[in-house]
Each structure stands twice: as C-alpha cells, then as structure tokens.
C-alpha cells in the first residue's frame, strides 16, 4: 500500500487556479423585464453575489483558487477586471446598466482571448504552478440578441484553441431568450454544441448562481448546461 497518495482530481487550488472569464451583454435589450426583474439587474445581482461567494473560497490561502476576467459589451467592450483575484473585484464596478448600445460580439471575444492569455501568463508566475493539474479555463459568454458585428468564427476558433496543458479552454455560450434564428451563432462560439444553451430570460440570475455551484463542486460545464437545456 503506497504511503503517499497522489492528487487525482483537477481541483482549483492556489497552485492549480482555475481561470474564469465572464463576458456579459450590456446592450439596450438587456433592460427587458422578466418575472425575476430586468435581465441587466439579474446579471448585476447574481454576479455580485457570485464574486462575494468566490471571495470566501480564498479564505486561508496565500494564493487564489480562481483568476477572474469580467467584461461587459455592447457597441464596445468594457473590461471590468482582468487576471484578478476575486477579492480584488469591487462590487461597485459590477453593474450592468443595459446602456452599451449594440451587440458587437467579435470585439468581446477578442478581449476574452487577450484576458485569458494575460491570466495564463500570470498563473505561470505562481510558484509551483501546475498547469496540467489545473481545471480547464472556463469562458462564459452571455448575449440576448443577434450579433451586430462582423463574423465571429475566426476569433471564436482561436479562443477555443488556445493551448492549455492537460486540457482545453471550455467556452460556454449562453443565450438569454434569443430568437431561434439568431441562436446558432452561440453554437458557433461554444467549444462544443453541448456547451451552448438558450435560457428563459428569467433564469439568468439562477444560471449565474449555478455557475458558482458548478465551480465549487468541480463539475463539468456540461453538467451545468444540461440543467437548463430542456
């Protein structure tokens, strides 16, 4: 019987942090009301709640179990944090006001690529960092409307193909009550077809809360999507 046990699961720790990237649509249509409040207000409350929860997960550690990138996008993309620890995120900055104009998806995805690379570079500076033992980086892209920008295929493919030792970047594309005619672009953005989902608009807050539960349990993004893919 071996006296020393080896790590068998990919768990987010200070030496094996998980990079989590949120890109959230802040265009005018996000102000649409739902039974659970306007979509942008759901996004604000749920992301603030999630970040507070993630701050608690870093208690007792010198490093950070999660590295965060968050941006809102509309006509332009507005980064909120890049390569940040949860405790470095100010809740006051996490406000989605649905006043960012149109839905320029390619620029948002380009920013995600930049932020992810920056985060990976930062992780490599962590003493003892073990990329192959770290959970896959998770990118979650939210939008409620059709793309008003150019084609997304090239940048989406580049994002999904970013090298990651021992795994891959998981891109999850979440429609928020999108028309069926515009939803296929989300399938193009997602890493795999089973990583795209079109939510009921009122489910946005719950979905973001479930992202937190999924991260905490170390579950796959497919498990999360299945819950909403009815």
């Amino acid at each position: 019987m071996p006296a020393i046990a080896k790590l068998s699961l990919k768990k987010a720790t200070a030496r094996t942090p998980q990079i989590v990237t949120f890109i959230i649509d802040d265009s005018g249509s996000m102000s649409m009301s739902t039974p659970n409040g306007p979509k942008n207000e759901q996004a604000t409350a749920a992301t603030q709640q999630l970040i507070m929860t993630m701050q608690s997960w870093n208690q007792g550690s010198t490093g950070s179990r999660y590295i965060l990138n968050i941006a809102k996008f509309g006509t332009t993309t507005v980064p909120i944090v890049e390569a940040a620890k949860p405790e470095d995120v100010s809740l006051n900055d996490l406000v989605f006001s649905a006043d960012s104009g149109t839905t320029e998806m390619p620029e948002a995805l380009t920013w995600a690529m930049h932020a992810l690379k920056k985060s990976l570079d930062g992780c490599k500076q962590v003493p003892g960092y073990a990329e192959e033992a770290s959970p896959n980086p998770l990118v979650i892209f939210f939008s409620d409307g059709g793309n008003t920008g150019g084609e997304v295929g090239t940048i989406a493919q580049a994002l999904k193909s970013l090298p990651f030792a021992g795994g891959a970047v998981d891109v999850v594309a979440v429609g928020i009550g999108m028309d069926q005619s515009t939803f296929p672009i989300m399938q193009e953005i997602a890493s795999r077809s089973d990583l795209s989902v079109n939510l009921e608009p009122g489910e946005l807050g719950n979905f973001i809360a479930d992202v937190g539960a999924t991260l905490q349990r170390g579950e796959s993004p497919e498990t999360l999507i299945k819950k909403y893919d009815s």
């Binding site: 019987m1 020393i4 790590l7 659970n36 870093n58 208690q59 550690s61 405790e87 809360a209 539960a213």
Partner: protein
C-alpha cells in the same frame, strides 16, 4: 419530531435566551388576555420546523398584517385556508409571532427554529388537553419571566437613550420636545408572491450587545505546552503546516488547562473557507475548556451531558461575539477577527450577517471550526485515567499501547482522510447550533503505558497510515513522548512532519502529504514506570 413529547426547555439546544423570550412573549399574551383562539396546533408548528420550504416567518407576519389573501404555496395549508387565515389575523397567534420576531434580537434569539419552538410551546399551553404540559410551560414561564422583563427593560432603556441622542443631534428638534413611542411593528404590506424578491428576514442585526467578557487573544508561547498531572503527561501544539501548502495563517489551535487532578484539553481546526476561522479556533479551544471547567466545578465525574453543555455554551459565546462584531464594525477586535483575510470589509459584514440569517444558503458560516475536546482525570484504580472527549466535525483520536514500539494505533474516533469537506462545524448561528446535534462522544480508559494522539485532519492527509505510524516513520526512534519534559515536544514533531512533507513535495510536486495546518495533542500515561511526570 414527536409533538407528544415536546417540552420547551427540555432539549439541550433550548438556550436561556430562548426561554427568556418564551416567557416574555407568553407574558405579553397573558397581559392582553389573549389566551383564547390561538387556533394553530403545536404539531403543525413542530412539523414546520423540519420543513425548509416555507418562506421566512417575517413574511408570514407581514402577510397577516396585509389585506390581501395569502399565496397558496406559502406556509402550512392549515394556516392559509381562508377561514383559518381570517381567524389568525390580529389574533393571539399573530400577536405571538409578531412579538417573537420583534423581540428576538433583544434576547439574542437568532434562528427561526427557536422562534417556532416558542410558538409551539405557546400553542401547547393554549391547546393541549394534557395538564402536564400546561403546568410544565407555566413553570418554565415562572422561572424565566423576571429575568426576561429585566432584559427587555435594559434594552428599552438603551434604545430610548440612543433614540434621544439621535433626536438631540437632529436639526429642527427643539429642547424639551417630547418623543414619540418607538415603533414596534413595520407597516403593513402586501404579502409576497413567488415572483417578488424575498422579503428581509427578521431584523437580527445591529443588536445592542456588549462584547463577551471572555475574549481570547493569542499570547506568545500559547501554541505549545506540556502539562503533567501525576503520571499523566499532555503535550499540545499547532503549526501552520508545510510551506508548499501555502496556508497563509494557522487556523488550527490547541489548548489545555490543569484543574485539580483533571486536565481539560481542546483542539480546533478552523474551516479554511470560513471568514474569521483562525480567531474562531483560538477562541473555541479556550472558551470550551473554560466552560467545561465551570460546569465540572461541582461535579465528581464528567458526563456526556456536561460535555455537550460546554459545546452549547461555546456556541452561545460565538453567537454573542458575532453579534458584537456586527454591531461594532469599527471595533478594534475586528483586526484579530479578520486575521490575514483579504476579503473586503463590506463583503465580510454580509457574510457575518448571513451566518445569523441564512438568507443566502450557498454561503457558509463565518467563524466555523471543528472541535475535539474533553477532560482526563484519574480513575478509581489510581493507575489509569478516564478520558471523555467529544468531536464536532472531523479530526481523529488514536490509541497506542506503546508509542515507541511497533504496535499499530487503534482508532477511537476515525475520519476519512480523502474527504476534504466537513458536514458539521462549530460556528455561530443556526447552522452551528444544528451541528451540535451530531456531536460524537467517546469514553476511554487510558491504561498504564498507553498514549493517546488527538489530531486535526492535516496529519491524516496524503497517506494511508495511521497518524501514529506516519509520525513514527518520519521521526524514527527519536519520537518518545514519555521521558520528555520539553514544552515544545509536540511542536517539534509537527515541525519535523512539515519539513518532511516539503521535502516530499520537492521530490514530487504531485505529492500532497500533510497539506494543511497541523495540530496535535498527545496524552500519555506513564504509570507503569512508577515515576510521576515520566520515565527516567
């Protein structure tokens, strides 16, 4: 829960605060002669306690004050039926509910379960056909009412004083102007529907509370110690753990104290993701030993009940400490409480409040820690020692017949070293109180030559041996506690273990031996060698 056996004050978890609030609310109903037509049966309320699906009691209170019919999905069916609902409005049940919610902060009652127990007892007093229960409740009422009135009076004076100060400093208020009554109830609002955001739970924050008199601060040298009592030797220590584990602070704590021919001991392991867990661990070991010492002061022998009572009083201390911290966010005590945490203050306050309200059930409690603690005293044969120990959460206790020999360790309280999440912990608030229902207690006789190892989970991580075997492997023949009078003996063992784990990590970064804070209590009976205080 069996309603036929329900008696308020009989359960260990019915705190003095709860009994005082019960007496106070019961007294108000009596004073208003609102003793008929309570309508709600105690069994309805007791069933409710175990069903988490109902909205907060504060919502029920507000809905009863509203003119709109209640939503059918909310609260037990027996309450929301049209006729019953109309009877409850402005009736004794609604008065009792409102009074309980309004007065709970004053008495330090923080959970809905406690308020439901109070309502169940009142329902029993009004509705039970069995005189025994009515008489019992009357007795509990008589025993607690004077104290309850005193608590309420003091709180009212404090409230009046702060209200007066606020009025005095408010522009536009003239000297001599009389003050209006302090509002007791919130204005009526429409009842909640499923589509509306949840209403605020009972206002149990910002309570005017004083800091508990007992307020432990870690002192230099307190992280390790040797205590000898006759042929009994006890060493304890805690250590931040291997460097590779990157534990920013030591969230483990150990403590022991000699009391006559007894030695009381405790080991706590702060839950790593819980805010204030280092402060909690340091506090819990001291408060638990002190409470147990007080409870044992007039007892010949310790008992399971006394041990549980000490844990319950430690929980009550945590409740008071947290209420004090929430009410005094600028207090200097926050510095030690915060420890090395980088959590933003505004977020920390939300976590503290949530520990009491459980508004967000995804958030764990602050100040959460495991506890292994107990007492050792000579047995009647004068050669052995009786140990009584409890566990809340994880950690382990092993028995070794001869620690320096080859005998394998026998687990007295085992744990799954692969499991990194704990299902129970000692913490303030309702979750911490619920954990006390799963306390494990062992009785063990420490025979001559026997050694007991008590450890947090850190020493059990990353290997499949017993802790005793692993420490023996690491330390070789040099580990032999019996002859040592070195106060730092346990600390040296932990330091050696941490260095060994770092070397293993350097050899293979996938290895995660002892990857946590480390703590250890060693209790040894040197009786067989005939010399008090150890072999020569």
């Amino acid at each position: 829960m069996d309603g036929k056996k329900f008696k308020i004050g009989k359960a260990d978890t019915d705190s003095e605060s709860l009994l005082s609030l019960f007496a106070y609310v019961f007294d108000k109903l009596k004073a208003e002669q609102a003793v008929d037509g309570f309508h709600v049966q105690q069994l309805t309320i007791l069933t409710w306690i175990n069903d988490p699906k109902f909205p907060p009691l504060a919502d029920l209170d507000r809905a009863l004050q509203s003119t709109v019919p209640p939503p059918k999905h909310a609260w037990p069916t027996q309450l929301v039926e049209h006729e019953m609902w109309q009877r409850l409005k402005e009736g004794p049940f609604q008065k009792a509910l409102n009074e309980s919610l309004q007065s709970a902060p004053i008495f330090g009652v923080t959970s809905e379960t406690e308020i439901l127990r109070i309502l169940a007892a009142i329902a029993q007093s009004f509705g039970s056909a069995n005189r025994e229960f009515k008489e019992w409740n009357e007795k509990v009422y008589q025993e607690n009412i004077q104290k309850a009135r005193g608590i309420y009076r003091v709180a009212q004076q404090q409230r009046q004083a702060s209200h007066t100060d606020a009025i005095k400093t408010s522009p536009g208020v003239q000297s001599g102007q009389t003050l209006g009554p302090i509002p007791r109830t919130s204005p009526a609002i429409d009842p909640p529907t499923k589509s509306l955001p949840a209403l605020e739970p009972p206002a149990i924050k910002k309570v005017l509370v004083e800091r508990p008199k007992e307020w432990p601060y870690e002192t230099v040298g307190a992280t390790y110690q040797w205590i000898a009592q006759g042929s009994l030797n006890l060493w304890h220590a805690s250590h931040v753990g291997p460097t590779y584990a990157e534990k920013g602070e030591n969230q483990d704590a150990t403590f022991a104290v000699k009391d006559g021919n007894r030695v009381l001991f405790a080991l706590a392991d702060g839950v790593s993701t819980s805010y204030g867990s280092r402060f909690s661990a340091i506090s819990i070991v001291r408060v638990f030993c002190n409470k147990l010492q007080e409870l044992l002061s007039n007892e010949v022998r310790p008992s399971h009940d006394l041990l549980k009572r000490a844990a319950l009083e430690t929980h009550d201390w945590l409740d008071t400490a947290l209420n004090f911290l929430i009410a005094n966010p600028e207090a200097p005590e926050w510095e030690k409480f915060r420890g090395e945490s980088k959590m933003r203050n505004e977020v920390a306050i939300k976590f503290c409040e949530n520990t009491l309200t459980l508004k967000d059930r995804f958030w764990g409690p602050v100040m959460a820690s495991t506890l292994l603690g107990g007492v050792v005293q000579p047995s009647e044969d004068r050669r052995s020692f009786e140990m009584l120990a409890l566990r809340v959460g994880d950690g382990l206790i092993e028995s070794i017949e001869n620690f320096s020999g080859d005998e394998s360790a026998r687990p007295l309280l085992a744990m799954d070293a692969q499991e990194t999440e704990i299902s129970a912990s000692l913490s303030p608030g309702p979750l911490g109180k619920n954990s006390l229902t799963s306390i494990e207690i062992i009785d063990h006789r420490i025979t001559p030559g026997e050694t007991i190892l008590i450890s947090s989970d850190g020493l059990a991580r990353g290997h499949k041996n017993s802790v005793a075997q692993e420490l023996r492997k690491i330390s070789g023949k040099s580990v032999n506690f019996s002859p040592s009078r070195d106060h730092a003996e346990a600390l040296k063992i932990l330091d050696k273990a941490a260095k060994f784990a770092d070397a293993e990590f350097k050899r293979d970064p996938q290895v995660s031996l002892f990857g946590d804070n480390l703590s250890l209590i060693v209790i040894s009976n040197a009786q067989s060698h005939g010399v008090n205080g150890g072999r020569r």
